[in-house]
C-alpha cells in the first residue's frame, strides 16, 4: 500500500474527517504536513508562541501542565486548535509517547481550512463542546 493511501485510510476512520470524500481526504493529506517525534519530546510547549494544529495518526501524547501529566491523547485526537484559534500560547505541554506520528497544519492555515470545510468545522466544534461539558461536570 502506498504511504499516502495508508494515511488517507487512517483519516477516513477519524470522526473529525468522517464527512470528507476520498479526493478531499487526499487533498487534506497533501495540504497537511506529516511529523514524527521521539518519545518524550514536546510537540507543543507551554507558554511558547507559534504552535500549530495536530491530528494524531499513530502513538499517543500526554497533556502536561506545569510538569504534571493530566490526560492522554490517542489516534484520531487533535490538539493545538485552541492556541491557533485564539492566537495565544498553549497552556500545557503536549509530550510525544509511543512513536507519535501526526499530521500538522500551520496555525495560520487552520481558519481558512475550517471555513473551506464546514463539516470538519462542525465536528471540531462538537469536540470542543464535549471538552467544555466534561470540564463543567468536573468542576461541578
Amino acid at each position: 500500500m502506498d504511504v499516502r493511501d495508508d494515511v488517507v485510510n487512517i483519516l477516513a476512520g477519524f470522526s473529525l474527517f468522517a464527512d470528507l470524500s476520498t479526493p478531499e481526504l487526499e487533498s487534506l493529506v497533501e495540504t497537511f504536513g506529516e511529523e514524527s517525534f521521539p518519545d518524550g519530546e514536546r510537540v507543543l510547549r507551554q507558554g511558547l508562541t507559534g504552535s500549530n494544529f495536530y491530528v494524531i495518526l499513530e502513538g499517543t501524547a500526554s497533556i502536561r501542565v506545569d510538569g504534571i501529566d493530566r490526560s492522554a491523547l490517542r489516534p484520531g485526537d487533535y490538539f493545538g486548535e485552541i492556541s491557533c484559534l485564539l492566537g495565544v500560547a498553549p497552556v500545557s505541554d503536549i509530550v510525544a509517547q509511543d512513536g507519535l506520528r501526526c499530521l500538522v497544519l500551520p496555525g495560520a492555515e487552520l481558519e481558512p481550512f475550517l471555513v473551506g470545510h464546514p463539516r470538519v468545522m462542525f465536528r471540531l466544534l462538537q469536540g470542543e463542546a464535549r471538552k467544555v461539558r466534561a470540564t463543567t461536570r468536573w468542576l461541578s
Partner: protein, 507 residues
Amino acid sequence: MVELTERPFPPGRYPLIVVGSGPGALQLTYSLRRLGIDHAVISDDSEPGGMFRRWPIFQRMLSWTKPYAEPERGTAAYERYDWNSLLADEESNRSIMPGVMDGTSYFPSRPEMELGLRTFAERTGLRIRHGCRWDSTHQDGEDFVLTTSDGGYRAPVAVFAVGIAQPWRPSILELDGVQQYGDLRPAETYAGRRIFIAGKQNSGFEIASGLLPWARQIVLASPSRTRLSVETRTLVGVRARYVQPYEDWALAGGVVILDASIESVERAGAGYAVQTRGAADGRALKFEVDDVIAATGFVSPLRDLPGLGVATFGQSRIPTQTPFWESATVPGLYFAGTIMQGAQGLRKHGIPSNSGAVQGYRYNARVLARHLAETRFGRRLERSRLAADEVVGFLLAQASRAPELWHQRSYLARVLRIEPSEGITDEGIQPLAHFVDGGEVNAVAVALEANGKDDPYPAIYVRAGGALSEHLLPPHPLLDFEGADYRAQLTAALKPVLGGALAGSAM
C-alpha cells in the same frame, strides 16, 4: 582521482563511520577532522558531490549564490547570501562557489555546483573511500557492522548521509512507460507532445518549466492547491524559478494546473488516458496524452535500517530524529545531509527548518560534529567568555548577521550560559529545541524566527531559575536589530539572568 588510487579506510573497526560523499557528508567529515575525531568515510560514488553529480535534471540549481553582497566573501556574514558553499575554518577554503561560477546566473549550474563540492574536498584534503557500496547493517554488541562491497566495517557510532533522492511513485503510476524524475528523455524528444505531470511540487514544476518550449500541452495535477514560496515567505511551496508554468496557466496560455486526484492511468494506443477528479467539486476530467511523468516525490535509500529498528515517517520515509539528528529509536545511529529534515525542531508557525537544503544542513553538520565530539568522544571543547556588558551587543549582532540563525530559523540558536559562579560562557550554536526542552542552568538563547507574513524577527529565550520565557522582538524593515530600541528591549528581557549587571547597557 587521488581518492581512488589511495583507497583510504580499508575495512575494519573505526571509532565512527560516515556513509556518503554528498555535501552533507563532506561538511561533516571536514568538521570532524577539524576537531580531531578519528573516523572513516565510505561512498558508493566514484567522486564527491552526491546527487549534484546528476541533478537537478535541467542542470541549474534552485539555491542561489550572490557573487556580490554587502559582506565580503569569506566572512561568516557572507554565508547568508551564499547558499551553496560548504563551510571552512581556513579563509582560503571559504566561499568557493562564487569563484567557480561563470556569472550568467546567481543560481549555479549543476556542473558548477559539482565542481564547487569537488574543489572543497580537494582543497581541504578530505579522505573518502570511494567505490565502496554499503549493502547491509546489523548490530553486534556496541558496534554497528556495515557490510560493504569492500568488506565489513564496525563502529560504535554511524552517520548516514545518503540523501533523499530516490524517486518514488504511487502504485497507480506503476505503468509501463510512465517516466519519473531522473529518467526523462532529452527535452527535444517531447516536441509537440501532450504531457501529463503527476505532482505539483518543485520537481513537477521544474519539469514543466524545462518542457515549456517543447510540449504541445502540459497538465500538472495533484489533490492540493499549489503554494508559492513568495506567498509563504519560506522554502515551502514552488520556488520562483519554476513559476513560469504557473503564470502560463494563470494567463490562460495553455498549461493546465488542476487540484485533482488521479483516479486512473491506462495505456491508450501509443499514449495514455488519465482520469482525474476535482478535490473540491468532484468534477471528473479525462486527458488523452502522449507522456505521463511522475513527479511524486523522493525517498531515502535507507536499505535495511528500518529492519534494524530505525523508525521512519512520511512518504519520503525519513527517519524520526532527535534535535541532534540521532535516530529516535536506535541510539548511536545519526543522520547528516538532507535527511536531517526529519528532526522537527519547534517548527513555529508551521515553518520547517531548512535542514533539507545545503544552506541549512551545512550548519547542522558542524553542530553535529561538536555534539559527537563532546558526547561520544569525551572532548570538552573550549568556550569563550563574555563580560555582562557584552551580552546585549553580542546577541543582537548574532540576530543581525549570524548565518546559522538566518538559514535555520527557529531551529538553531546561539546559547549563552550564565552562572554566577562561572560567569558567562558562549555555548555556541545549538538546536533550539535542545535548549528550550532541557537544562536547569540559567541561560539565554537567540534565534531568528518568521511567521510567514512579516519580516524575520529575533526571538530571545531566557531560562532563569528553571523557568523559561520567550521574548519576541519586533521585525525591522532593513533587518537591522542593533538599534537602541532593540538594546532596550533585550536588556529588559535579560534582567532575570543578568539583573543589575546590565545597568546602562541600553544606553
